[in-house]
């Protein structure tokens, strides 16, 4: 294998992993606050279609990204009002959000299928991008990829050293105790859910404006679900989300790599790799009960009502 091929694989790995990273970071924050939002796929698609249509009609990519984020946040607020405000079952609400988002995005995008736009171009940083192997991977990407690096660092710092991060963890572990000592449980959960929505919206915009600049129905192709699996795979640790996202990104381009090398393995078979890896990690994690219990946010998926 020559060095150019490896350089290109690494480059594609990061590009493919970026939407996963964005969605998973958002979902991680959301789950750390104790809210399980299975609506990622729906928010992703809404971000993609709204971002694409906005970019196409206005000609401004930045406006596209902005509206993609707003679409994601709006969707997450819908989830928030139902699951947090009305205390509905989070799993059911999340699934409904995905179905709703899939349908609504298809409806909105009907007239825009296959229309081309000039997508977001990579911006290679001088000198840095010439570093062998990793230069292209890290420094010849587009702005959203750079932004994803920054967001990763921000979330990492948020949970490691910031007080709001501590509050999110506390709310996700024991909302009743958090309420009793006066932490704003509902506000924290709403904000976490909205952050998740913003990240999913941005990831959707990235798909339809930068990654493959066009709109096709259901173009997220299960990335929302992979991101959900990724959070579990990463055992709710921020740094592992980054590694996992790139690893899953690599897994989803492996069939191209293998084709290039002359092997033929069914791409369907390779597509199960992320899920198989997640199951494997779950099995490994559950071997040690104490660790397993300490990793997942303890109140994940449980609704909370202040008066009870």
């Amino acid at each position: 294998m020559d060095i150019d091929l490896i350089t290109n694989i690494l480059y594609a790995m990061v590009r493919t992993g970026t939407p996963l990273l964005l969605v998973a970071l958002g979902e991680l924050v959301c789950e750390k606050s104790g809210v399980l939002n299975l609506g990622q796929e729906g928010m992703l698609l809404m971000g993609a279609v709204v971002g694409f249509v906005a970019a196409l009609l206005s000609g401004s990519l930045m406006l596209g990204f902005l509206l993609a984020i707003i679409a994601g946040v709006t969707m997450s607020l819908l989830f928030g009002v139902i699951a947090l405000g009305f205390n509905a079952n989070q799993v059911a609400t999340g699934l409904a959000l995905t179905i709703f988002g899939t349908g609504l995005s298809a409806f909105i995008g009907t007239e825009f299928v296959g229309k081309p736009i000039n997508g977001l171009d990579p911006y290679a940083l001088p000198l840095l991008s010439d570093i062998p192997l990793i230069g292209k991977m890290l420094f010849a990407q587009d702005l959203v990829v750079y932004l994803s690096f920054g967001l990763f660092a921000a979330v990492y710092w948020f949970f490691r050293s910031s007080r709001p991060g501590l509050v999110v963890k506390a709310v996700g572990e024991n909302p009743h105790a958090a309420n009793a000592i006066g932490l704003p449980v509902m506000r924290t959960r709403y904000l976490a859910v909205m952050f998740g929505g913003a990240m999913a919206g941005l990831a959707g915009g990235y798909l339809s404006i930068a990654y493959t600049p066009l709109w096709v129905e259901n173009m997220s192709a299960g990335r929302g679900w992979i991101a959900l699996a990724l959070v579990v795979f990463a055992s709710w640790k921020v740094e592992r989300v980054l590694l996992g996202a790139w690893l899953f990104g690599l897994a989803s381009i492996l069939h191209l790599v293998f084709q290039g090398l002359g092997f033929s393995i069914s791409s369907n078979l390779l597509a199960i790799l992320p899920y198989a890896a997640t199951i494997l990690v779950l099995v490994l994690l559950s071997r040690n009960q104490v660790r397993a219990r300490l990793l997942a946010p303890m109140s994940l998926g449980k609704s909370f009502h202040a008066s009870s």
Binding site: L166, K169, A170, N174, A177, N179, I181, L294
Partner: protein, 518 residues
């Protein structure tokens, strides 16, 4: 108290009223707490203590009435506001986060005043040393004992300026020795000018600690007094009213024919925060009550699960009934052999919340002729449920009422009645009067004594050491999955059992007591 105050009371409540649907939790309550005073708030479960303290801590808004803080009217918006005023609260069910460290837990409660964590950790060490509550700020809370967790809660209140400390049933999770230590800390705090509101239903503790007491009954103030000048009986009278019988002393018996024999019962817990049982041996004799004391989380659940048959054990010979080993038998087979079981959780394990009392009666009563050839006899089941309700004075509209709609005490009377009515040869009861009012507790105690006198072997596992001394004929304690020596109740003392609860016993003690009782 007749002379005018130079300084106003620290906290005054005037006419506090709070109604919940179907229940007047607080009815026009007045209360005065002076600076440096340890003030007891005494009352049974459901008397309105919790609601009142939530009002003071800003967790609940009263419907009527006003609060005066240092003489000035104030509206406490939320717990953060209460903390700013200098009100700290130690909760009964701790409000701690298990996966976070002591320092992080305290930082969360302090809000923006917490400062950076290393400085805070230093302050925590200082405060905990000063008040004699050793605490390592870097430990994660899930590694701490229950007593240590309570220290975290108290230290959390003390790292900021504090004027009023509220403690909700703080001694229910402590050994008698830990209670003494806590009282030393509280007296020191009060001597420094901090007011303390001590919520409890344990009369001797209130008499030992508090300067003044306000007694609540059914949401109203039913009395005020200086506890040292009252007897436990007169305090109890104020708590329960005139028409409820207050528990008495029961004659102790000594029996020597073992029904349940446990020998070398060991079991590794599969729960990450569970306790491993370590070679536990004891007998429960026909016609006696054996009490096992211990702070929750020292192996009680694991022991009860092994005895009831819910958890499998490796050594089937470890548990014997008179006719042989039962270690491999299912709960149902053990019931058929004469065992009855009252689990700790009433809803979900002792009874199915959404099922009627009649159906709940059937759940364990089905072995006593309520089911014939696979068909349920509804008439007999209803009669059975009616008998339980009548005999044990369960307050309910009827047998079709859902279990979940009964109060804790009533449901407990129903569950215990259901088991006793089946005339078991062995009754295993976990925390039989936990959260039950004095009247119902007395009824349950009488029922247990009556069953004992009919010749049943009874094992009672409880955190309430006073209760165990009242009803047990012999007594022992669990600590970290080890069982202490077992002694006839008249031959031991609360202090000794307290030391056992803290693990202060050796294997030779256990062995020698085993030979004495055998």
């Amino acid at each position: 108290m007749a002379e005018p105050h130079v300084t106003p009371p620290r906290l005054t409540l005037r006419g506090i009223t709070k109604a919940y649907p179907g229940c007047l939790a607080n009815d026009s309550i007045d209360l005065n707490i002076e600076p440096a005073e340890i003030h007891a708030l005494l009352g049974e479960n459901g008397a309105g203590k919790s609601t009142l303290m939530k009002v003071i801590y800003g967790l609940v808004k009263p419907d009527h009435g006003e609060l005066l803080w240092d003489g000035l009217p104030i509206d406490i918006r939320d717990p953060a506001h209460a903390r700013k005023l200098g009100i700290g609260m130690v909760f009964q069910h701790f409000s701690l986060f298990e996966t976070l460290t002591v320092t992080e837990n305290i930082a969360l409660a302090l809000g923006d005043d917490a400062g950076d964590l290393p400085t805070l950790a230093k302050r925590i060490s200082e405060v905990s040393t000063r008040y004699g509550m050793a605490l390592n700020p870097d430990r994660e809370v899930h590694t701490l004992s229950v007593g240590e967790r309570q220290r975290v809660e108290i230290v959390r209140c003390l790292v900021q300026p504090i004027k009023l400390l509220i403690l909700d049933e703080p001694t229910s999770v402590l050994t008698p020795q830990e209670v003494e230590t806590l009282f030393v800390t509280l007296r020191q705090l009060a001597s420094e000018g901090c007011s303390i509101l001590f919520i409890s239903h344990k009369l001797h503790e209130v008499r030992a600690l508090c300067h003044h007491a306000t007694i609540l009954r059914a949401g109203r103030v039913s009395g005020e007094c200086t506890p040292q000048e009252e007897s436990s009986e007169s305090l109890a009278r104020m708590m329960v009213g005139d028409d409820t019988p207050i528990s008495t002393d029961y004659p102790k018996v000594l029996a020597d024919e073992p029904f349940l024999q446990v020998r070398g019962l060991s079991r590794l817990s599969e729960d990450p925060f569970g306790v491993d049982l370590q070679s536990i041996s004891f007998d429960v004799h026909t016609g006696e009550i054996l009490g096992i004391a211990g702070v929750a989380g020292n192996g009680q659940e694991e022991l009860l699960g092994a005895l009831s048959g819910e958890n499998e054990i490796d050594n089937h010979d470890a548990i014997h009934f008179p006719h042989g080993a039962v270690g491999q038998l299912s709960p149902r087979q053990r019931r058929a052999a004469g065992m009855a079981f009252v689990p700790e959780e009433r809803l979900g394990r002792g009874a199915v919340p959404d099922m009627s009392l009649k159906d709940n009666a059937l759940l364990t009563g089905f072995l006593t002729g309520l089911v014939k050839k696979g068909m349920i006899s509804h008439r007999k089941t209803r009669t059975f449920a009616e008998q339980i309700i009548e005999r044990y004075r369960v307050k309910t509209p009827g047998t079709e009422t859902h279990a979940a709609s009964l109060s804790g005490g009533n449901l407990q009377k129903f569950i215990i009645g259901r088991e006793i009515m089946q005339q078991p040869k062995l009754l295993i009861a976990a925390h039989p009067t936990w959260g039950v009012d004095i009247g119902a507790a007395t009824a349950i105690h009488k029922a247990l004594i009556e069953l004992r006198d009919k010749g049943a072997a009874i094992l009672v596992v409880s955190e309430d050491i006073d209760e165990l001394f009242q009803i047990s004929d012999r007594i022992g304690a669990l600590c970290h999955g080890r069982l202490s020596p077992i002694k006839p109740t008249p031959q031991t003392s609360i202090n000794e059992v307290g030391r056992w609860m803290a693990g202060d016993f050796s294997e030779t003690d256990v062995a020698s007591s085993a030979t004495v009782s055998a």
